[in-house]
């Protein structure tokens, strides 16, 4: 079939325009449009736009679930030995698009997204699906609860498997959160850094990022000191964030100590572009620049250039991990994982993996496990196993869909797949 898809999209928006009326400042100020209250349930008048839209309802399509229902496997355990796919578990809800890895605690794997699901690690069945009210962007597991970060923070009790607390963390709550010192640290554009005590389940402090940078790495300037955090990690008694620069919060002093500029050609808008190592933070630009930021000197000490494609699409670099003395970075351009030795700070190996590796690998049981989305949206996602000793690919598993971040737990790799909304379990040995 051949027609100009862009023209038809244009037609759709022209139709939308005809159904809407402009909003005037006077109406906003008078309170005749916009919210009057969103917290006490006070109703608001129907806007003219809503009235027109209601008329359109008779011709609208109520879109149901995504038809990504092509089954993969039959879910039956394999009788083979060695690394293998043992289960493909239908989650039944969207596993999200920007979601971090699943978490595991108390004999179960937890997957977020539109809702949160608990999968028993032994029976490999979904035992609970729990509404949290938000789209979750990150999950954290503690001994007695799973904490769900979305537009707010929710606590799911492991015993009752119910939401016991919902904590408002402000507009612009980010998935860049960490657990340290008995607290969940959540970044929010509105409230800054929010400290939630895990025991009392209350916000006990809010910290605002300094307006002016206190240092600038290599004299790189901070253009706009804001706290739109996209990444965070706990390293050596400090929480590091990537906002408009690298931002350090000292856990001893309980204050922001450093706001550091990053190279101007570092695409810090990408959600996943930093790798935490013991002595450094590696900044990874999707266009192939990789910098090493030294945590002793707070300076950029090294810059590497990885090959990338000029073609738009999936051909860039997203992120990687630090493991076994090396940095491992998937590169969509040549469908490989680049191994950078942390001592020599040089690329030592380029290891071919699946098509379009776009998410972080994971280290487990002597291997690096690399997800790749294949020729998305065709159902060709894979996970590749790289032996850590031989640096050779030993297995490639078809998992289908768009594999997101894998997670290691209970002798297996657990991989959520977007599109078919499944969780694939790969036995590691």
């Amino acid at each position: 079939m051949s027609y100009d898809l862009r023209d038809q999209i244009r037609e759709v928006t022209m139709l939308i325009d005809e159904s809407q009326t402009p909003i005037h400042g006077a109406d906003i100020r008078a309170g005749t449009v916009g919210f009057h209250s969103t917290s006490d349930g006070v109703s608001r008048p129907m806007s003219s736009a809503m009235i027109v839209v209601a008329a359109f309802a008779v011709v609208m399509i109520l879109v149901g679930g995504v038809a990504w229902l092509a089954p993969f496997g039959d879910g039956a355990p394999s009788t083979d030995t060695g690394p293998r796919v043992t289960d493909t578990i239908r989650i039944g809800h969207s596993v999200g698009d920007y979601l971090g890895p699943p978490v595991a605690t108390d004999g179960a794997v937890w997957v977020g997204g539109g809702t949160v699901s608990r999968i028993d690690s032994s029976t490999r069945q979904v035992t609970d699906t729990i509404e949290v009210g938000d789209y979750s962007t990150a999950l954290f597991a503690t001994a007695d609860a799973v904490w769900v970060v979305g537009e707010s923070v929710s606590r799911i009790d492991l015993d009752t498997r119910e939401v016991t607390d919902t904590i408002q963390t402000g507009i612009g709550t980010s998935r860049a959160a960490s657990i340290a010192d008995g607290a969940l640290w959540v970044s929010s554009e509105e409230k800054g850094l929010v400290e939630i005590d895990l025991a009392t389940r209350r916000i006990i402090n809010e910290y605002q990022v300094p307006v002016q940078p206190r240092k600038t790495a290599n004299n790189y300037a901070i253009i706009e000191p804001t706290f739109q955090a996209r990444w965070s990690a706990v390293i050596d008694r400090a929480i590091w964030f990537l906002g408009s620069g690298l931002i350090r919060f000292d856990l001893e002093q309980r204050e922001f100590t450093d706001v550091l500029g990053v190279p101007p050609d570092f695409d810090m808008q990408t959600d996943e572009c930093c790798i935490a190592a013991d002595d450094a933070i590696w900044l990874v630009s999707h266009v192939g620049h990789v910098w090493r930021f030294d945590l002793d000197t707070f300076e950029i000490t090294d810059k590497l250039e990885l090959p990338v494609s000029d073609e738009p699409g999936f051909n860039g670099i997203t992120t990687g991990i630090s493991a076994e003395g090396a940095i491992w970075i998937p590169n969509g351009r040549d469908e490989s994982v680049y191994r950078i030795d942390q001592a020599t700070r040089q690329v030592t190996h380029v290891i071919p993996v699946g098509v379009n590796p776009l998410r972080s690998p994971v280290l487990a049981d002597g291997a690096i496990w690399v997800p790749a989305i294949g020729d998305w949206p065709q159902d060709t996602g894979t996970v590749t196993r790289i032996d850590i000793n031989t640096l050779q690919v030993t297995h490639t598993f078809d998992v289908g869909g768009f594999p997101l971040h894998p997670m290691s737990y209970d002798g297996a790799i657990w991989v959520p797949t977007l599109g078919n909304e499944e969780l694939t379990r790969i036995q590691t040995k």
Binding site: Q20, G34, V59, T270
Partner: protein, 155 residues
């Protein structure tokens, strides 16, 4: 102290300049039911916090996030409504386009509708969404690829 009328005039001028862009972006993100109200909510928030908002480098980007966060609560777990183009509007209708748009990931749909529907440049989209142009390009490519696949349309 700034006279009250000056503040009012400044806000009204701001609304005239940005309201259309904000409403288009939020409609692309949240659909025709929720998007316009989310834009009104965001502008009301802007008025309530005008002292802070007017000094921002990218107030539209900020208000977009405010509206998006509020609108998502209304959307919950259903897809946004995208109207179907009536048959008389174009010589040949792709009936699956609106449903396909509704099932795109939020950012993909937003970028695809803003770029091809509202004819925004990558720079304009990047500024409104507070992301880089390369991120916009990536979301666009993924969205169009997914649309073509779902609709069986060739390049």
């Amino acid at each position: 102290m700034i006279p009250e009328q000056t503040i009012v005039d400044a806000f009204d001028t701001f609304v005239v300049g940005c309201e259309g862009r904000l409403r288009s972006a939020l409609t692309a993100t949240l659909g025709v039911e929720v998007g316009p109200d989310a834009a009104a909510d965001a502008l009301a928030h802007g008025w309530q916090n005008w002292d802070r908002v007017r000094s921002m480098d990218n107030p539209v980007g900020y208000l977009y996030k405010v509206g998006r966060d509020r609108g998502r609560k209304q959307l919950k777990r259903r897809d946004p409504f995208i109207p179907v183009v009536p048959e008389h509007r174009v010589p040949w209708i792709e009936p699956g386009l609106s449903p396909a748009l509704a099932t795109l990931a939020e950012r993909q749909r937003t970028v695809v509708l803003l770029v091809h529907g509202y004819q925004w440049t990558l720079t304009e989209v990047a500024e409104a969404l507070s992301v880089s142009k390369s991120s916009v390009q990536t979301h666009h490519d993924r969205g169009m690829k997914k649309l073509r696949r779902k609709l069986g349309v060739q390049e």
